[in-house]
Amino acid sequence: MDKNPWTSSASPLGLTPSALISETYKSFSLNHIQIKEALPPSLENETVFLYVSHGIGIIKVNGVDFELKPGAFIWLHSAQTYTIEPRLGRELDITFCVYDNMLISYLLFLEHTPQQVRFFIDTSPVVYLDSDKQQYIQLLFTEFEEESMHDDTCSIMNRAAIYGQIATAFFQEQEKSAAKLNNIQHNLAWDMITYITLHSFQNITIRNVADYFSVKTAQVNQELRMVSGHNFNQFLNRARINSACTCLIFSDLSASYIGAFVGYQSEVAFFRAFKALRGMTPQAYRKYMTAESKYPRRQLIQSTSISILHYVAEHYLEDICIQTASKQLYLSQSSINEELKNSLGTNFKSLLNDFRIQYARALLQTTDMPAIDIAMASGFHSVYTFSRIFKEQTGVSPKEYRDEFKARNHG
């Protein structure tokens, strides 16, 4: 991975991009760094939030200068090349946290529209927080540090929540400052990078970009190389591979589908580009991310099974069966059962019955309703089916269950 010229630019934060991928953000950590002298330009594969707690300086993002002062809060996404330069004798104290594309997509682009995304990319990546907000961010950082002491599910959930809060605070502030300052001074390269990032999913060529900005193709390459050191093709590949990495966590998608989704015309081109940028094939990368790394992610998001579970949990008291579920969810009956078996270890029928029997037990414990009413209320069609399934699950008949419960709790 290190030999590859596209990713070999050393990260200013003291870590190479590959080191960031494998260690830093997996464990949800907060990092501090002191910058004393200007750093070489660099480009991350991931999204980074920087917070300046001390010092004065300048950050150059895609060729545009922004001032750095205490309370500056910066969001750098994967398409932005940046250089950090402290003012002489005023070294910068920076806290940064790394979000991978997947986390950002999970946390923030829940219901985004193209306009929203354009807004996120196009407006100033730097916002200046007032003292109230600064305190709030500092508070989140302290809370995060405290949570990092633990290593259980609870602390990981808390850390994920704090990451979300930090990002939300940034976007809220960004919207406010965009309304106030109108817009930042863009240069041509900035606009080109925005255009390429937004259209990387489509079949775009350097001609399109040149035509859109009414320049020559050579100038496109020249502008891009000036701010980022990459030419058009390298830039486009980076954007596409980064979004492919995000897609790869969804186990239901095949690698060739993802290749087509992120904008590659041929499978071979996708695999070649992926291997060049990440040093492994997409399948190996997926395996690495979910199982082999130090902090493995959850097996992979099985969103199909979750939507089946959602359907059952919402509707189990109604007249539903696997036929209605397959109509509602646009899935075949066999694939519903297969999906449930693979990810949750159950099938549709027993999942539905579990929910219904649970509800029936609650009714038996709280009410004096006769068995037939309970059967109907909990979604069964006949009292015989109800009694049979109830006995299968609990070992006793509904009446015995109720008597037992009453004897235990009120007798």
Binding site: T113, V117, T153, M157, Q202, T246, R298, Y311, A313, Y359
Partner: protein, 190 residues
């Protein structure tokens, strides 16, 4: 391959301009948007037996009493947090002559499922949807949890997009509590 490509191109032209992978398109639309309703309540007498189609979170701010769930009574006091599922028929009874101050929060199942499928931690959605959870917070966690609840109360009243998201993350913090403290209910045994 060609026809797939064509439909994909169509999609792209219509609306599919994305920086990152758009999860909302991939998850069923029913899961989101989140529906989170919450409020602060003062109870001076027992409320009616009820159930909801949502997941309900209760937090006891002040006072003590009992909560009756599916015919079984559990004592609750300041610092108790309760997670009730749709099949839990419940009733809160404050101690005689005293007032019970509670925060009640309803979350739709889709939101809970969305939070449970995050790639970074493992939750078993089926187990959580079937059991009753009652936890008692330690004294040092009470203050922090109450500040989370307060922020949740304030951000749920404002209407912009960001506070909706903030609600989701604060809710995640509340859910996280249930994995740290032992469950005091015995719903597994029956």
């Amino acid at each position: 391959m060609n026809s797939k490509q064509e439909t994909m191109d169509k999609n792209n032209n219509a609306s599919n301009i994305t920086v990152s992978y758009n999860s909302s398109k991939y998850f069923s639309p029913g899961l989101l948007p989140p529906v989170i309703k919450l409020g602060c309540k003062n109870l001076s007498y027992a409320n009616t037996l009820k159930r909801h189609n949502n997941i309900e979170l209760l937090y006891i701010l002040n006072g003590s009493g009992t909560i009756q769930v599916n015919g079984i009574s559990y004592p609750v006091t300041h610092g108790n947090c309760v997670l009730l599922n749709p099949h839990h028929f419940h009733k809160l009874i404050p101690e005689k002559g005293k007032e019970l101050k509670i925060i009640e929060c309803h979350v739709n199942i889709g939101t809970f499922l969305y939070l449970s499928v995050s790639p970074y931690y493992t939750l078993d959605p089926i187990a959580i949807l079937s059991d009753l959870y009652i936890i008692l917070l330690e004294s040092d966690a009470i203050l922090r949890t109450e500040s989370v609840w307060n922020r949740l109360l304030t951000s749920s009243t404002s209407t912009d997009v960001f506070s909706e998201r903030l609600c989701l993350f604060l809710l995640l913090k509340i859910f996280a509590l249930f994995s740290r403290y032992p469950n005091l209910s015995d719903s597994k045994s029956d």
